[in-house]
């Protein structure tokens, strides 16, 4: 019991620190990668390659003046940054990031809390994050902030459903909502990574994840061109910074989630060495590196997409969410459930590489007509083609 408490406290402190530092570096990475994409150099003055820029930004934000609008709802206004910040960090608690670490007193799971309902916990806390944004928008007593908050809630509702539907497919394969089991199921070979048997679910998930984290092309709650800065227009100094930290922490969590659910978590491909006991420190470090690399790739993808795509119009966003993603996710779920039922219950296959490859083939078959239709531009074009005249 003491061992559990002490190891948990250490894990909490370490994970919290790593995420905070990661978020800080992510802000720098975003600015530098954005600069490179625009043929610039980006901030490289503070420290080697600008590595201390986040520290300088943080210091500046701490020293800036805090503003409090006279007409704002004071309690909610002060509460909102924390409310968006905390769920973003809490979600990470259930994500396993390496193989268990052997110590003199026993193995330590490399996950802050190995919840049996880890997956449901993530869905629950993932949607809590929007409360901070909505409350910030509402309590600011500013019409632009309110619009931003409204958009955030509408967007969250529309995409949460598609996101949930896409992950149900993962649960069908894993047969369990514990994330360590989801990873164990995927680590049999490269092709049992869920991205292969469930490629389209991954496609839905990644689009929904972009919407959930309010990143471009779905950053309508902020939409600086239309809403000034949306929900955080009235915030300054560290409270403003909190929203930023929350956004980036959400990105880290979403990337970790994509890694865990679809890319085998900490699994190293092409080898069984990493997912069989006895656990060694080397295995822990190697799998942690694999996990970090995968998460890093998704974080780069986030930044890459942000500096490539323009923002959706609001009605296009809603149309994509309700008219495309939701029916598509539902019908995909039906198809994949039928396929799994056929393979597993009727043909009696157990889950393995051939099972995964069969599902992958099905996904490719489904993907061809889907991308053909998507690519014709009829799904998210202007909404009132007939009335216009």
């Amino acid at each position: 019991m003491t061992f559990f408490l002490i190891s948990s406290i250490i894990k909490i402190i370490v994970v919290f620190t790593v995420i905070m530092v990661g978020v800080a570096l992510l802000t720098l990475a975003e600015r530098r990668i954005c600069a490179w994409m625009q043929d610039r150099l980006g901030p490289n003055r503070v420290g080697p390659q600008g590595l201390f820029q986040p520290a300088a930004d943080g210091l500046k934000n701490l020293l800036k003046e805090e503003t409090l609008p006279a007409q704002a709802d004071k309690v909610l206004f002060l509460l909102a940054p924390a409310m968006s910040f905390v769920p973003a960090l809490l979600t990470f608690a259930v994500i396993p990031f390496a193989t268990p670490l052997p110590t003199r007193w026993g193995d330590v799971d490399m996950v802050v809390a190995n919840l049996p309902v880890g997956f449901l916990y993530i869905l629950a806390f993932g949607s809590l994050g929007v409360y901070g944004i909505v409350l910030a928008g509402w309590s600011s007593n500013n019409k632009y902030s309110l619009l931003g908050g409204l958009r955030a809630s509408a967007q969250m509702i529309s995409y949460e459903i598609a996101m949930g539907m896409s992950t149900v497919a993962v649960l069908l394969l894993a047969g369990n909502v514990t994330l360590t089991d989801v990873i164990a199921k995927q680590s049999q070979s490269l092709f049992t990574w869920n991205v292969f048997p469930l490629s389209l679910a991954f496609f839905i998930f990644i689009v929904a994840a972009f919407a959930e984290t309010n990143r471009l092309p779905f950053d309508l709650p902020e939409a600086e061109a239309e809403l000034i800065a949306g929900y955080h227009t009235e915030y300054s100094a560290m409270k403003f910074s909190m929203f930023y930290i929350a956004e980036y922490a959400n990105m880290v969590t979403a990337s970790a989630l994509m890694t865990t659910l679809f890319f085998g978590g900490w699994d190293i491909p092409f080898t069984q060495w990493d997912n069989t006991p006895p656990w060694t420190i080397l295995k822990t470090v190697a799998t942690l590196a694999a996990f970090t690399l995968k998460v890093g790739f998704f974080l780069f993808l986030y930044i890459w997409v942000r500096w490539t795509l323009p923002r959706f119009r609001y009605d296009q966003l809603m149309a994509l969410g309700w008219k495309v993603m939701l029916p598509f996710a539902l019908s995909y779920l039906t198809v994949i459930a039928t396929a799994i039922w056929l393979l597993h219950d009727q043909l009696g296959w157990s889950y393995g590489t051939p099972f995964a490859l069969a599902l992958f083939g099905l996904n490719v078959l489904l993907a061809i007509p889907l991308f053909f239709v998507l690519d014709r531009g009829h799904l998210v074009s202007g909404s009132v083609a007939e009335e216009a005249g």
Binding site: I33, A35, W36, M37, Q38, D39, R40, L41, W304, V305, W307, T308, L309, D315, F371, L374, D375, R376, G377, H378, L379, V380, S381, G382, S383, V384, A385, E387, A388, G389
Partner: protein, 168 residues
């Protein structure tokens, strides 16, 4: 949307989301590895693509003769033509009857850097300079006196020549 938004009808071959997205992402990825155009200012002040123009009109410089005296003969043309009225000139005369400036001050804050002083000067004494790094810690340091004007070493402007508009 309730109001009539004009929606262009385009053939399928011209509209795409997936292809266009992938194309755009390929483009942005390529740009990451391209050479950067940023000039890192304090370290590099000119590059192969860009140097400051020889016609740049910056802070002034007073040219001197062989004995190190200012070439100015205190004729009074520059304070006369100065549109910003930033030149203060008090003329003096020595025993041989040579005129020289007792006081010659230019307020660089008032100056609009038109270059008329250089154009009007019969002795080619006062010049605007090809120079732009002028920061100081106090405002009164921006009134340049004669000694300081003579001590400047930066190149002088070649002003625009109407007979040779492209500077060839």
């Amino acid at each position: 949307m309730a109001i009539g938004v004009k929606v262009m009808k385009r053939p399928g071959s011209e509209t795409s989301y997936v292809r266009a997205t992938l194309k755009g992402m390929a483009l942005t990825l390529q740009h990451i590895f391209r050479p950067k155009v940023t000039m890192e200012y304090p370290e590099e002040k000119s590059t192969a693509d860009w140097t400051i123009s020889p016609r740049w009109r910056g802070t002034h410089r007073m040219l001197t003769d062989e004995q190190g005296r200012a070439k100015c003969v205190a004729c009074g043309l520059c304070p006369q033509i100065c549109p910003a009225n930033c030149i203060k000139l008090v003329p003096g005369e020595d025993e041989q009857g040579n005129r020289y400036p007792l006081i010659y001050e230019i307020d660089e804050f008032r100056c609009v850097f038109c270059g008329y002083c250089q154009e009007v000067c019969p002795e080619e004494a006062i010049h605007v300079g090809v120079h732009y790094e002028n920061s100081e810690y106090s405002r009164d340091r921006f009134v340049y006196d004669l000694e300081r004007l003579c001590a400047q070493t930066h190149p002088v402007s070649t002003l625009w020549d109407p007979s040779d508009p492209k500077g060839e």
